[in-house]
């Protein structure tokens, strides 16, 4: 198991339009607003450094920020991972709601679960935030 990449996906339906959701997600500096456990995010061009609640700075490279496809991709560049790609898609369900999908692929595989596991919690927080429950 340790010699394969891990892939983990989480998703949430949000009763807001894709444009409304995308407005939140597309701004990489707003991550601390909707990801519990990320206390700071500084952005310089395509580089973002997030600081976790444990005080760990995590440098990332933003690979995709596509307003037409509503797709955001980034990879962690710190030594925690040999390889990583996270993809965040906002899909139009056609009824004024959105499906937000977060997928993490990583080597070591365990990192995919750690990242996407926390992302699943973040997506639920984003939903509550946008639907007014948080």
């Amino acid at each position: 198991m340790s010699d394969v990449r891990g892939t983990v996906r989480r998703q949430v339906r949000i009763h807001r339009t894709p444009d409304e959701v995308w407005e939140f997600i597309a701004d990489p500096s707003r991550l601390p607003e909707w990801w519990p456990g990320i206390i700071e995010a500084s952005v310089d061009g395509t580089m973002r450094v997030v600081t976790t609640g444990a005080g760990i700075p995590m440098p990332e490279e933003i690979l995709t920020n596509d307003p037409l496809q509503h797709r955001f991709q980034y990879r962690i560049t710190a030594g925690l991972v040999r390889e990583h790609l996270s993809t965040l898609d906002v899909l139009d369900l056609g009824d004024g709601t959105s499906l937000v999908v977060y997928a993490a692929d990583a080597d070591p595989a365990t990192m995919a679960l750690i990242i996407a596991g926390a992302a699943g919690n973040a997506l639920e927080h984003l939903r509550d935030l946008m639907e007014g429950a948080a």
Binding site: M1, S2, V4, G6, R10, W35, P36, G37, I38, T52, G53, A54, I56, P108, A109, T110, M111, L113, I114, G117, A118, G120, N121
Partner: protein
């Protein structure tokens, strides 16, 4: 003033590791004495054989299906029901000292209270967390941010390197061997005994007890991380049990052909794991192949396990001495148990996983009621569950069981209650492998039905006669002479399935 409750748990301890249960390796006079003056349960069964679901059952009095923690890494919601909360609202002072594990340990974002609390103290921000007003956490080593790890890091940093490094560079549970035999998860740890987490848990429990007023009613969950792997007890204590003298356990088939024949009679994930072709539980080292386990490694693991059990027994003795010094002895109920068992050589395997046999499912459980309650000592042979603990604590406190609890208080003798069946369940989904088991223990039999998954078709099962086959070597699932028994147990199993949690909780971390 009512009865006070000292609830003692260990982690991953087998039934046969206590003297009162016939164990001969570890000397456990303190627990044996509690059993002699209290109630010893011959067949205490967990509702899950891994930590987080099992501990959540203890706290909520609910089956995993209902509380929703379906595997390790799924956090118990912070607003989940809690027997500690019931007791706290009734006026009890409440504490949890040691291993909690209702929330994942892998938490770089520091999202969970268990991981973040040590930075601010021992009192949660909202006054209580899951009903506990005082929390001091520890686990199996010194990495991470729990109170014990922080204490070692601050006061004894040189001792950190003596512990086994549980996680390897691939972020997998390490399979690296150590000791004299190269057994996995074994390391010789030079740490002084008084700095080891077993004594730390007892020390912090004593400190909390000494902070209370004499008239307080209290519920203290003292939760030792041992004898869960890694097996790295203080080196100074290893002389207690020389592994060279340890007999091989009855459950260890000594020849490879015998082991393989037994495993081949069980559903396929047993043999697949043994051969190193499948790992369905993150806590079992992914790179370790059980077929490589040697007889001497089994001896050394069992010796170290016994040392850890002795240290726990002695630590409990110190806490009981504190209780006596406070003048509380007559009014304190002591409950001793664990969350699940350990294969520890049975079938040629170590650790745990989706294997519903006695090694993982027959637990030590002793309830020594407060002497003032004048409950007659007894041995209960009927199956009971850890799910019975929450209503038992309510009964001790003179409270009705909460309506969300799914069982009743432990019987004080055979025949006290009509329901003699216990359920256990397993669900796991890890990197493309899912395994699902449902088990009933009743009438001297253990019956497990498998649900469809990536490894199983959904028509497999296991059926064991506990009287005729105490080592569960012969799977009677397909034995025509047992068909009526199997049908009866399977029908009872499905009929008793509990109400599911309203939503499927997400797996948020490996463990």
């Amino acid at each position: 003033m009512g009865r006070k409750i000292l609830f003692v748990t260990t982690d991953q301890q087998r039934y046969d590791t206590l003297g009162c249960n016939g164990g001969t390796l570890a000397r456990t006079p303190v627990i044996d004495d509690l059993a002699a003056h209290g109630i010893r349960y011959e067949r205490a069964v967990p509702q899950s054989v891994v930590c987080m679901p099992s501990r959540s059952t203890i706290l909520t009095g609910q089956h995993p299906t209902t509380h929703g923690v379906w595997m390790n890494g799924v956090p118990l919601p912070v607003d989940a029901p809690s027997v500690a909360d019931v007791l706290h609202r009734a006026g009890y002072r409440t504490a949890l000292v040691g291993k909690a594990h209702f929330e994942p340990y892998f938490d770089p974002f520091m999202r969970f209270t268990e991981n973040s609390l040590s930075a601010t103290g021992t009192t949660p921000p909202n006054g209580t967390h899951r009903g506990f007003e005082h929390l001091e956490f520890a686990t199996h080593g010194v990495m991470g941010s729990l109170h014990y790890a922080r204490w070692i890091q601050e006061h004894h940093p040189d001792a950190m390197g003596g512990f086994y490094a549980v996680i390897d560079r691939d972020m997998q549970v390490s399979g690296e061997g150590g000791g004299d035999t190269g057994a996995p998860q074994v390391k010789t740890n030079p740490i002084p005994r008084e700095w080891y987490h077993t004594d730390w848990v007892a020390d912090r429990t004593i400190a909390w007890l000494e902070s209370l007023d004499a008239s307080d009613d209290w519920f203290c969950w003292m939760s030792f991380p041992d004898p869960h792997h890694p097996w790295d007890p203080p080196a100074s204590e290893l002389g207690r049990v020389d592994w060279h003298d340890v007999p091989l356990p009855a459950g260890y088939p000594e020849t490879a052909s015998e082991r393989e024949a037994i495993l081949d009679g069980k559903p396929r994930h047993w043999r697949l794991w043994y051969d190193g072709q499948l790992v369905s539980n993150y806590e079992a080292p992914a790179t370790w192949v059980p077929a490589t386990l040697t007889a001497d490694q089994v001896r050394e693991v069992n010796a170290r396990n016994a040392v850890e059990c002795e240290l726990i027994d002695e630590a409990l003795g110190r806490v009981l001495a504190c209780i006596a010094a406070r003048g509380w002895s007559d009014d304190v109920d002591v409950v001793f148990t664990t969350d699940h068992g350990e294969l520890q050589g049975d079938f040629g395997l170590l650790f745990k996983g989706p294997y519903h046999v006695d090694a993982l499912m027959r637990l030590p459980l002793v309830w020594r009621p407060a002497p003032s309650a004048a409950v007659a000592p007894a041995v209960v042979h009927e199956p009971v569950g850890l799910i019975d603990l929450a209503p038992t604590f309510c009964a001790i406190a003179g409270l009705d069981a909460a309506p969300w609890m799914q069982s009743t208080a432990l019987p004080r003798h055979d025949g006290e209650r009509a329901d003699h069946q216990v359920l256990t369940e397993w669900d796991s989904e890890l990197f493309g492998v899912d395994v699902h088991l449902r088990t009933i223990t009743r009438d001297g039999w253990v019956c497990t039905a498998y649900l469809r998954g990536t490894v199983h078709d959904g028509d497999e099962g296991e059926l064991y006669d506990l009287a005729d086959d105490p080592l569960q070597r012969v799977n009677r699932w397909d034995d025509p002479s047992c068909r009526a028994r199997r049908d009866d147990l399977v029908a009872a199993l499905w009929d008793a399935q509990p109400e599911p949690h309203p939503t499927r909780l997400q797996l948020q971390a490996p463990v």
